[in-house]
């Protein structure tokens, strides 16, 4: 048997997306759109202070039955989160605060009413009695001896200290060039436009608790909720309906999910909580907040020998299940050598508890910070050595001939040609023309500059990598069930989740290619633990590698059976058949998939002897080398900055990237552009500052700046395609890459714009105020 790729493959086609149709009709079904009889809304009472003992909660007179505190929830377990390392201090994170609150916005009580407005009326009357404990808001200062600790019994505020080292940093101690810099990537929110939401109720017919939640991984959430509630997993069904973006922010078990599930068990009617934007900004997953203190060791010709330093990650008050905040620190440190032949690495990492909302993953996880640190440092070094930054990069980049190359961070870069991508980016942004333009002042008084940044993006990493990270849940595989129905159409059930990535389309393209069908005849089902095989969800740019692989594998197994039945119906040998164009073809004729499916499903007497009826296969998949495959790219930006007001405009932005084989180039471009836009948010706009008392200062979109169409430029993209060696079709994950490089790229461009005065851009976001202050400081004026 064979399938004929010339005529049948859908791989590489920019198929329009299936999921667009319902969303364009306004007919998507998000958690907040689900209606249940007798449903009640919850508003949470949240801690108004950053740190204190919770002395008591006064329920409003007459409304006592509508207000629930931790003790009212019944038996709820606080499950351990964070890596399975003895050196990691686990912290119980109760769904509602017990005896202590540790950040502004922590859930304290749940108020329930027929509408959210009425629930808020009740919440407003609840009195939370606390005392004030010392507040810790600076992750570096938090480790100073004598600083108050968030947790009794901790010797300092670190969740964990760990050293990431490779090579021998002492051997470069006498390097002729040594450059020290401190850099900071500030805290931000993840801001899926659909905030989180949970709806839970007991389904008496199925004898199970149903929890609708806006999550990226329903199967893993079921595990966490079941353990928290002490509920056996067969009595718990978690459904992620349409999910309006996640970006990492919906991939941790959160207190509200546990509280709502517990309330539904207790109350016997549907209970719903829909996160509002203020709650999202103060108490949902926060991201980034890295402090780097780095020394680069180099030769005078620009070859970088080693990196030494410290990284503090401000992890907030609690560790979120399952992974906690340590991955942020270790990944950042391991990614510091980036795509460069740097042999020696020694980074002391400190994952620090502070009185802020807990840190979690956000598109790029750790790498936007690491990329910002190393790529900024490379530029600074180039300036110190009087070299063009692109030239310094060229000297240090891992070349195609070096592949596979193990970095000093222990990452095995698999395939690609980084120098060629750099050349492409230089050409796309037209570096010589910019250098020429810079010779004359801009007529509007602004300064222009060009910046580059190179990034790699680990994806498709499985058991080996996640075990190394000591992950509590090891997302080492994905599953897919392919089921051909009696008319020859297909249901494809997968354990990952589609929340904007177009997987209902791209996975159908893979199945269609393997089954010789049209994607229109394949429906992809996901998001319901009750109807999909086990999976870990969509994060870490893993879905196309893992789920795409599982779909391909399941479909191939099904194709064998289809051909066998087809051969039997044509009275020919299976070896003589080919599967294409909706039919199995033999030497003299063909039999349609519909006929084969009919036989397999409803006319078993037509099947060859010994063939089991039905056309259904479940397969699991993990790439053979589970250390991961690496997409990569080079970003280039031309910016103009106003030296007085500090307003920055991106005049041009180019991306040269390689994510291996593309299943659907339209979707790939969409992921790149969307990722870069988010990276621009990190670079220029988005920030969650806290004051010294631990009060969050950006609590609405009036203070938290979201980039809109006027802030985001047009992008130019050039693809290189170096297929991965060990994945199906040679795909590599690529969902996060766009978000990794923009902070570094734009900071480098600003540095270039003000190279004549030496203004320093070492902290994100580069708001008008920070840019203006950097320029003023370079002029020796008051910041």
């Amino acid at each position: 048997m064979s399938i004929s790729p010339e005529t049948e493959t859908w791989i590489g086609k920019s198929l329009l997306r299936k999921e667009d149709i319902r969303h364009l009709a306004g007919a998507g079904m998000f958690v907040a759109d689900i209606r249940m009889p007798n449903m009640q809304d919850v508003a949470f009472v949240r801690s108004p202070i950053a740190h204190g003992h919770l002395l008591g909660i006064e329920k409003p007179a007459g409304r006592e039955a509508s207000v629930f505190t931790l003790v009212d929830l019944g038996a709820v377990r606080c499950i351990d989160a964070g890596p399975e390392l003895a050196s990691f201090r686990t912290t119980p994170y109760p769904p509602l605060a017990g005896d202590r609150v540790r950040f502004v916005g922590q859930t304290v009580a749940a108020c329930i009413a027929p509408t959210r407005a009425e629930a808020e009326d009740i919440a407003e009357q609840v009195i939370v009695n606390t005392d004030d404990l010392p507040t810790v808001v600076d992750a570096v200062a938090a480790l100073q001896p004598g600083t108050a600790t968030l947790y009794d019994g901790w010797s300092n505020n670190a969740f964990i200290h760990a050293t990431i080292a490779e090579g021998d940093i002492a051997s470069v101690a006498n390097a002729p060039v040594q450059m020290h810099r401190t850099l900071k990537m500030n805290r931000q929110a993840t801001v899926a436009l659909e905030a989180r939401g949970v709806l839970a109720y007991w389904d008496h017919r199925l004898d199970e608790l149903v929890v609708y939640t806006s999550t990226q991984g329903p199967h893993v959430m079921r595990l966490g909720i079941a353990q928290s509630l002490g509920l056996p997993e067969h009595k718990l069904r978690v459904i992620a309906p349409d999910v309006g973006g996640g970006f990492g922010g919906k991939n941790r078990l959160m207190p509200e999910e546990i509280a709502i599930a517990a309330l539904a068990l207790k109350l016997g009617h549907p209970v719903r909580w829909i996160e509002d934007r203020r709650e999202h900004l103060i108490a949902s997953v926060h991201a980034r907040e890295h402090h780097y203190d780095l020394t680069l060791f180099a030769e005078t010709d620009g070859r970088v020998l080693g990196i030494k330093g410290a990284l503090h990650v401000d992890a907030g008050a609690y560790a979120l299940w399952p992974s906690g905040p340590f991955m942020e620190s270790s990944m950042a440190a391991r990614n510091l050598p980036g795509p460069y032949r740097i042999k020696h690495l020694h980074i002391d990492t400190h994952t620090v508890a502070t009185n802020k909302a807990p840190l979690g993953p956000y598109r790029g996880v750790a790498r936007p910070g690491a990329c910002f640190a190393i790529e900024r440092a490379m530029d600074e070094l180039a300036h110190e050595l009087g070299m063009d930054p692109s030239e310094l990069r060229r000297i240090n980049l891992v070349s195609a001939a070096d592949m596979p190359y193990r970095t000093a961070g222990g990452l095995l870069l698999d395939t690609g040609d980084y120098p060629t991508a750099l050349e492409a980016a230089v050409e796309m942004i037209d570096l010589p023309a910019i250098r020429e333009r810079q010779k004359t002042p801009e007529p509007d008084g602004r300064k222009i500059g060009v910046g580059f940044a190179v990034y790699t993006e680990q994806s498709g990493h499985g058991t080996v990598e996640w075990t190394k990270r000591k992950s509590r849940v090891v997302p080492g595989y994905e599953s897919a069930t392919v089921r051909m129905l009696p008319d020859g159409t297909v249901h494809l059930m997968v354990g990952i989740l589609n929340h904007g990535q177009g997987l209902e389309t791209s996975l159908a393209q893979i199945a269609a290619s393997e089954l010789g069908m049209h994607p229109d005849n394949i429906s992809v089902r996901h998001g319901d633990t009750g109807s999909t095989p086990y999976g870990f969800g969509t994060f870490a740019s893993r879905s196309i590698v893992f789920s795409g692989g599982a779909v391909a594998k399941a479909c191939r197994q099904l194709a064998i059976k289809i051909c066998r039945i087809g051969a039997h119906l044509m009275q020919t040998d299976t070896a003589e058949t080919a599967l294409r164009d909706n039919a199995v073809h033999g030497p003299s004729g063909s039999v349609s998939l519909a006929e084969i499916a009919r036989a397999a499903n409803t006319r078993p007497e037509l099947l060859p002897q010994g063939t089991e009826p039905g056309l259904e296969v479940t397969a699991t998949y993990e790439p053979p080398d589970s250390g991961g495959v690496f997409s990569y790219g080079v970003h280039a930006a031309l910016v103009a900055a106003d030296p007085k007001t500090g307003i920055v405009e991106i005049l041009k932005y180019a991306v040269a990237e390689d994510c291996g084989t593309m299943i659907n180039p339209l979707i790939v471009d969409g992921q790149i552009i969307g990722g870069v836009a988010q990276g621009i948010g990190t670079a220029l706009y988005e920030e969650l500052p806290y004051d010294e008392a631990g009060q969050p200062l950006a609590t609405t979109f009036g203070d938290y700046m979201m980039p809109c169409a006027t802030e985001i430029p047009h992008f130019e993209i050039r693809h290189f395609v170096t297929p991965a060696r060990n994945t199906e079709y040679g795909v590599k994950g690529m969902g996060e890459g766009g978000a990794i490089a923009p902070p570094a790229t734009i900071a480098n461009a600003l540095t270039d714009a003000f190279r004549d005065i030496g203004a320093k851009f070492l902290e994100t976001p580069m708001t008008p105020r920070r840019v203006s202050e950097a320029v003023a400081r370079a002029h020796g004026e008051n910041g």
Binding site: H23, G26, G245, R277, D669, I673, G674, F701, C708, T710
Partner: protein
């Protein structure tokens, strides 16, 4: 409660409405028209955009009772609108949506842009879109879709 009547998607509504209910909450929670999405509830994201008397407004910042006697159109009311269906097709072809949450507000805004600018250029479209947050697409597909739909609709 305030007795209120208005025309919604061509249908006459007459109801006692809780005075504090926003138009967005009213259409979503009372009428179950859930295509109008709430992304911020403070007028900054545009996901809840609907039309009142032919102009786009943020339904989170309109009291339902203030719509008395007016004509309200939500995304559900545009399903047979010819111009809107051209815009929809262009959105699909230009990959102007990913998660779909901002899409209803984007579509209603797009139709208004195309009505007021015959052949908007990129800069005009971007300026008009400021205040419509899309977290997924980076706006490039949205700008392209509005531009091409305008050409198709306005000739």
């Amino acid at each position: 409660m305030t007795s209120t009547s208005f025309c919604l998607n061509g249908r006459e509504i007459a109801q006692e409405i809780d005075s504090r209910q926003s138009l967005a909450d009213y259409v979503r929670e009372t009428l179950n028209l859930t295509g109008t999405h709430l992304g911020c509830e403070h007028g900054a994201c545009g996901a809840c955009t609907v039309e009142v008397d032919g102009t786009p407004v943020r339904s989170c910042l309109v009291l339902a009772v203030m719509c008395d006697g007016k004509n309200v159109e939500t995304i559900e009311g545009t399903r047979t609108d010819e111009a809107m269906n051209i815009i929809r097709r262009n959105f699909r072809e230009k990959h102007a949506l990913q998660c779909g949450f901002c899409t209803p507000g984007m579509l209603l805004t797009a139709r208004d842009i195309i009505r007021r600018h015959r052949a908007p250029n990129d800069a005009e479209i971007r300026a008009e879109l400021s205040g419509q947050i899309c977290r997924c697409t980076g706006y490039m597909g949205i700008v392209a879709a509005i531009k091409s739909a305008a050409v198709e609709i306005n000739g």
